[in-house]
Amino acid sequence: MEMRQALAKELDRLMEINPNIVVIDADLSKPNGLMALKKKYPERAFDVGIAEQNMASIAAGMSSYGFIPFINTFTPFATRRICDQIAISIAYAKQNVKIIGTDPGISAEYNGGTHMSFEDIGVLRSIPDIVIFEPVDTVQLSKAMPQILDYNGPVYIRMFRKEISNIFSKEEQFSLFSTSNLQKGNDLSIFCSGLMVQETMKANEELSKIGIKADIINVHTLKPLDKPSILKSVKKTGAVLTVENHNVIGGLKSAICEFLMEEYPVPLKSIGINDKFGQVGKIDYLKKIYKMQAEDIVKAAVEIKSKRKN
């Protein structure tokens, strides 16, 4: 199933139960798979046109009236373009608005550099009280949505919108504010997020072949960090590799470093965008260009394991 289909299905289910949910689009409900909601709930699912800053503040106003708005657009427009509206109308005013950004990082593919957000997490992470969540697959997204709804405050949902293979099973427990463990190991801690979780698991097949057993942890919620889980893993392994579809400045690597440098400094390497702008290309091509392939993850894992603290 495509991520956007899972999103639409879950929103539809929640809107049926909760009359306070509103869905607001800025002329991208078609690519985000939300057109059907507008037909089914014409009053509560509507478009503001290409006016993202207006969308954010309208949502804040509706939240002040008791509604729970979900605003939707591509990640660059959901974050850097409307940073001030998120900071002031939503976060500072303590409004309960959920922000959905699709096509994160290299998944913007042929839309290229203008649409390729490598900085969106960094933009929002320094605004107080915002939860930042990046689902890995449709299972995780579907399980997260009711918890996101229950959280009274702004949440940024940074999500891939197309077909993706599921990593998690429906039976597994999920908590929005706890990391998800993908494999237990002692040789190093790999903290991975979003689109790069699948690539990390691919790399893990190679690591297993050469006898490296990593503690692999999906940090689906980048803010607030599940610090106890991260610390527990790092105390066990003594080395860290972060893997993300974002600039290594401001995203997962930064969040992990900021925490560990104060609590338990260990050798660390990172896979992600090394402070570059985006460009056109398919995901596989872009992974190669930005050195985010499984082989890059393997190489970095081997290197950092050799420098482990323990």
């Binding site: 207006n54 309208i58 509206q85 109308s89």
Partner: protein, 273 residues
């Protein structure tokens, strides 16, 4: 409306006291909007100072959030909080910051200060009220300089598209902004034609300090089947001679003890008259 004119002079006195406590503040844009605030709260706003979060109440979003001192003075007079609070403007731990904050001040319906945003919030609130079908009227006040923000016009299109006839807005058209006059910086004219072109009804109030004119404009707007913009031709710093004569510099200015005493004397005299 003689009673309201007297109330306006009392509000001006409170604004002076409020800003005078710290000795600096947004005096010009507070004084230009006094009459609109007084008329709204005296004759139109369905609200309850004892229950500031009353469901279905009318709401006021002061998108030009730096007019906080004027709004706070009116709210205090209305009974939302003690007039003593006014002396705490911008003091450490205050509930009355420079710019309006819904989480700090009873009676403030939206946090504003980053210009343009409050107007979109007002449009969202008007839309929310329509969905709830609770019959509330949503009032918004924007600045003329604020009208240079693109977000104002995004919100105006949204309000028109969604037929938000429960939204009544005011432009405080005092013709001045921080760096100069509106015409020098980025002119707005023809302002009424712009709003009409965006699908709004427009009422031009030639004297934005005439309570009668303002009251009539609001009564007209309530019967409109469109969102309505009431353009108030106002004077920045109105009613206090030192602020009026400061012109563009009255946006945020020092109010020393001498100026304060002189202005208070002017107002006392006006109140007695």
């Amino acid at each position: 409306m003689l009673k309201l004119d007297k109330e306006c002079r009392i509000i001006r006195k409170l604004i002076l006291k409020t800003i005078g406590t710290l000795g600096v503040g947004h005096i010009g844009g507070s004084l230009s909007i006094v009459e609109a605030l007084v008329v709204l709260y005296a004759n139109h706003m369905n609200c309850d100072p004892q229950n500031p979060k009353m469901a279905g109440r009318d709401r006021l979003i002061v998108s030009k959030g730096h007019s906080g001192p004027a709004v706070y003075s009116v709210l205090a007079r209305k009974g939302y909080f003690s007039e003593d609070w006014l002396l705490t403007l911008n003091q450490p731990g205050t509930n009355l910051p420079s710019h309006c904050d819904m989480n700090l001040t009873p009676g403030i319906d939206m946090t504003t200060g980053s210009l343009g945003q409050g107007f979109s919030c007002a449009a969202g609130i008007a839309k929310a009220s329509k969905i709830r079908n609770d019959g509330a009227t949503i009032y918004a006040i924007i600045g003329d300089g604020e009208s240079q923000e693109g977000q104002i016009w995004e919100a105006s299109m949204f309000a028109s598209q969604h037929k938000l006839d429960n939204l009544i807005a005011f432009t405080d058209y005092n013709k001045m902004q921080i760096d100069g006059t509106i015409d020098e910086i980025c002119a707005l004219e023809p302002l009424d034609a712009k709003w009409r072109a965006f699908g709004w009804d427009v009422v031009v109030v030639k004297n934005g300090h005439d309570c009668n004119e303002i009251d009539s404009a609001i009564r007209f707007a309530k019967f409109s089947n469109k969102p309505t913009m009431i353009i108030l031709h106002t004077i920045k710093g109105n009613g206090i001679s030192f602020a009026e004569s400061a012109g563009v510099d009255s946006h945020s200015m020092q109010v020393n003890k001498e100026l304060l005493a002189k202005a208070m004397e002017e107002l006392e005299k006006a109140i007695i008259d």
